[in-house]
Homo-oligomer: 345 residues x 2
Amino acid sequence: MRPTVHDIAAKAGVSLATVDRVLNNRPGVRSVTRDKVERAIVTLGYVRDVAAANLAKGRNYPFVFILPAGDNSFMRGLEGEVRAAMARSASERTQITILPVPAFDAQALVQALSDAHQRRPAGVAVVAVDAPEVAEAVKQLRDDGIAVVTLVSDLPGSGRDHFAGVDNIAAGRTAGTLMGRFTCGRAGPIAMLAGSMLVRDHRDRLEGFTAVMAEEFPARRLLPVIEGQDDPVLVEKLVHALVEREPDLAGIYSLGAGNRGLIAALDKTGKSKMVCAIAHELTSHNRAALRSGTIDAVLNQDAGHEVRSAIRVLKARADGLAVIEAQERIRIDIFLKDNLPIEQA
Amino acid sequence: MRPTVHDIAAKAGVSLATVDRVLNNRPGVRSVTRDKVERAIVTLGYVRDVAAANLAKGRNYPFVFILPAGDNSFMRGLEGEVRAAMARSASERTQITILPVPAFDAQALVQALSDAHQRRPAGVAVVAVDAPEVAEAVKQLRDDGIAVVTLVSDLPGSGRDHFAGVDNIAAGRTAGTLMGRFTCGRAGPIAMLAGSMLVRDHRDRLEGFTAVMAEEFPARRLLPVIEGQDDPVLVEKLVHALVEREPDLAGIYSLGAGNRGLIAALDKTGKSKMVCAIAHELTSHNRAALRSGTIDAVLNQDAGHEVRSAIRVLKARADGLAVIEAQERIRIDIFLKDNLPIEQA
DNA sequence: ACATTTTTGATTTACGTACATCAAGATTTC
DNA sequence: GAAATCTTGATGTACGTAAATCAAAAATGT
């Protein structure tokens, strides 16, 4: 059987109360006694039974998730994963509140962070907009002992505890390699379609993509970046104009959202088979387009993993425990039509 | 606060003991009383505090993992993951025993299953060899109420509770799509290198690969399958002979192990850049070859996920709980040199 | 109506930890 | 050397559930 606090007390020749004082570093223990107890802990290989400890403490973790509103499929999927986590809150001792904010609105996000602050949660997870005033608001939370994790889009220099999202430069590089190799049979230029250059993840993806294209496929002509504002209607219009302007277009890398528009434009112009399309996030639209062949590859970040990782990290930080960064890294999934997971409800 | 057994007792107007009898379906409760209690459970939305229950029960789960011996990097990685799970056994209340068996040896595996049976564990995880006598041995375990999960390689028709591994037909199809597209600039045939056609996962991968090649790239010539017995030395010899025999070889799909030999042969013959190589499992050799460009893509199954999933399923089965199959599906990871995760210790 | 069986209640102990209280012992301070 | 402080022990309660015991009550059979 694994050792308990009683075993430590016996081994160290002290009382249970003293062991408790050491374990929960309460005051009132001489350093010699503390040493004795700590040695006993090490030699016995004691590890605290977290389940029992949480039971005794009646511990629970109030968290706030700040998510962008709007009809972005990926973000709605993310919200779904947060709600799934809320459904598990009984067994995980979490109490999660969702705070919706308008997308790409730094000021609204600052307000939401302030609202979250007032609720005095143990931690906050936020899909960040990259702006100094947002970083400042995050700092205030941290100063007040509230753990902060950025979700999907990071906010460097804010002192956030952790970023639960993918390496978007690597994602862009991967897209570049796939694009370069998939289009090796065709001449013609390659287009890049972003949502907005104001958000960090889009900038990072673009950087990785253009770097690989320059290094590995220098002969390939890259068209200027198109910004579709993640809006399906605008995206469709822009892509339609693009394929008319560039009849020998070889490929298009969509590094943001609004892919419904991209798919519609390619299908309607009959370019689906000719143009190699690579997009992000395995939404239902992208999934269908992958299956039909309109989209050739999808890079995905698993929203469920991100949410669960964020919660694990927030819990650990709330308890003052260390986080194994390597274990919390979110991978970039590559989907082709042949390795699509079965759709879930 | 979430409701407790006491709340149920009060609500249903019965004693705590009766609530306990209902919850753990012990005998001695009239059906009318049982109904009253169950209604109270539903209306209060009671969910058992698993942590407290396990604490009270002192529950633990003795499991046996049967793994192939030998120097197969993937299998050693798998064993590492099982050992990592053993290190967590204190907090997970598991007691895991590893039973090594010679690889590809049905008779030895039957013996190991029988040994496992005698230990009377709550569950067994086994890397299966596809043979009727193995299926029979698995059936005997199941008949004795021991949960059985196949790991990595499945054993259909054995009545195993679950398969913790990837869809190898889909893996082969994915490899086929990548191969077809990556080699679109080059003429020349494509070779397939298997370990042995006696194991099911290799057969499945081959089936998927050849199917996609036939459907999508019918012009491409496929060479007869080479069997390298997962042995690096033999593989190197065979691949060396292959590239001399087929100087315009466009690609090679290695669907088994022993990739050290493949990498060495390609590097020594100076064919690394010309031949598109796709292999399985992100071992340290494959990782290095991916980085250097000798291997172009690696399909990976995450051994850690497989082990953790197997344990979750075994626990659920031991407790007679349902398993959400969709949640336990193991994905096929595609790695290019641009999305390689940082190497871990 | 009685004996018998089944059902229910009341109560206790246990799991491993947290946390509080009070008293007693050991040290330090003046 | 007495007073003040610091350190430790002893003990109890709590968290939510499991499981056992024994007594009491209710239902059943004859």
